[in-house]
Structures are given as structure tokens and as C-alpha cells.
Amino acid sequence: MDDGWYDEAAGPLVRPYAITAGRTSASAGANLDVATQVMTLRSAETTDGGLTPEHLQIKRLCQKPLSVAELAAHMNLPLGVIRVLCGDLIERGVVIVRSPAQRVEAPNRELLQAVLDGLSKL
């Protein structure tokens, strides 16, 4: 079996540009994780001007925090498009986000313990 597929620094797969008018890499949303929580700020109520129907749909759906992946599934749009749209909303102060802790950060024993406790209670 060829197991070399993931070791190439840059494979043949790249993100699409056309669908989001080339905004993929510049966007504030470009690095959002699939699990990143997106939540609409209450103070954003009056800032709808210039938002597309998709922006407004995200704004509505995220009255309660939802992940980027859930938004993509509910809106039937690719993850990359959701990232760009969320990036727009972050820049406009409409939503805030919280991403998974990265391993390089402080040891997260507390976090793991919380997950363990939660799972044990299920």
C-alpha cells in the first residue's frame, strides 16, 4: 500500500477560488476550524446593511452557538464558503467565535477531565 500520500508538502489538492471570488486566503474566516463555535452578538441587531441573505441566515442560526460544520450542513454550502461568510461577519462585529484549543497551548488536563466527566454522565 502506498502510504506516502500525506507526506507531500503540497499535494495536488488546493482550495477553490472561484466560488468565493478569491477571498479564501485573505478572509478572517480562512482558518476557522470545522468545530469552531460561531455566535451572534446581541449588540449586532442593527447592523444588517450590506449583508447577503446567507450572512443573515448565519446571523439567525447562530443566536445559539453553532459550529462551522453545522452551519455548512444546515445551509447546504461547502465548508469553505461558510468560512468566508463567517469571516465577513467577524470583521463586521456581528459574530464572535471560539475555536478548539490547539495542542501547542498549555496542557489541557482540565479540558480532558471535563470531557471525561461529561461522557461518563451520558
Binding site: 500525506y6 488546493v14 470545522v34 461547502p78 465548508l79 464572535i96 471560539r98
Partner: protein, 198 residues
Amino acid sequence: MVSPSSDDGFDEGADTIPTPVKIIVAGGFGVGKTTMVGSVSEIPPLTTEELLTEASDGIDDLAGVERKTTTTVALDFGRITISPKHVLYLFGTPGQDRFWFMWDELARGAIGCVVLVDTRRLDTSFAAIDFFERRKIPFIVAVNCFDDAQRYEEDEIRAALAVPSHVPIVMCDARKRDSAKLALIRLVKHAMSELPVG
């Protein structure tokens, strides 16, 4: 580049936006990944897609531009609300190993991975084991016990998979919520044991 880390832009609603946590469920095609995600998720498993533009090898002679084809990678996932402060997402890896791009993205920040194996087709999970081992991401092996599969002892499976002794191997039934839950608990305990001391 704007980093979507937990501490920017964060004065408002800080107590109401939960911290997401990811666990990956990996393994070969048909090994029971979607089944496992579905049996523990509080929502029916959702599917989403990432579009990838695949550059072809050659350059188009006439236009001088690379031909590209768009590939869709499907990703299924479920959700478990752990507490008001934590929400756990379970992501099944995309079926084809060659979508390493997606695997890397899923693995980033994940607390670990359950690699499902089917004893009738152990080789279909080799790539997943290799992937997580090389990246030093905590993982356990969960043997999905299909009804008609022959039973093996843990050490037989460990030897066949060449999995080091510190990696837990558990038997499970991906269709059963309790069994899937125990596999997740084993993984989290393992991830804790791999934390640096102090």
C-alpha cells in the same frame, strides 16, 4: 492573519459560547465510522462537504493554464453537549485516504482519534494508524466486532497491526451507544495519560 483563537474579540458572551472539542473516528471504508458517530451523537449525524480543486498533471496546451477538476469530500459528524461550557464533535474521516488535506485539518486541535478496525480487513485501517502515530496524536484502536467475524485476542490484533503497547485496544460494537461511549472514554483517558507531566 486573523487567528480564531479563544481570546480575540471576546468581551461579550464569553460565558455562553462553549469551547468546542473534537474527536476523530477513522478507519477504512465500511468499518463502522458513520455508525459509531450516529450511535453516540445527540443529533442525527450531519454531512457536509468541502470542495477541493484538483489540478491535473498537465498544462492545457491551448490556454496555457492548468486544467482543474473539482472534487467533493464528504464529511460526517455528530455532536455531544458535554456541559454548558464544552461541546464535543465527532468527525468521521472522509472515506478515501488520499484526502490527507482534510485529515490534517480535522486532526488539528483534536483531542484524539478512535481508529476503528474490522478484523476481516485489518489492512484498510493501516493508513489511519500510521497517520495518527506519525503526528503523535493520541489514538486508540477499537475493534468493531462484526457478527460474522472471527474473534481474536487483543495481542493477536496488536501484533497484526504493529501497534505499540501503550496504545489501548478495545473491542466494541459501533451500533451500541454504550459501547461507543466506552471507546470514547478510553480515548480521553489515554489522551490524559499522554499529557506531559507537571
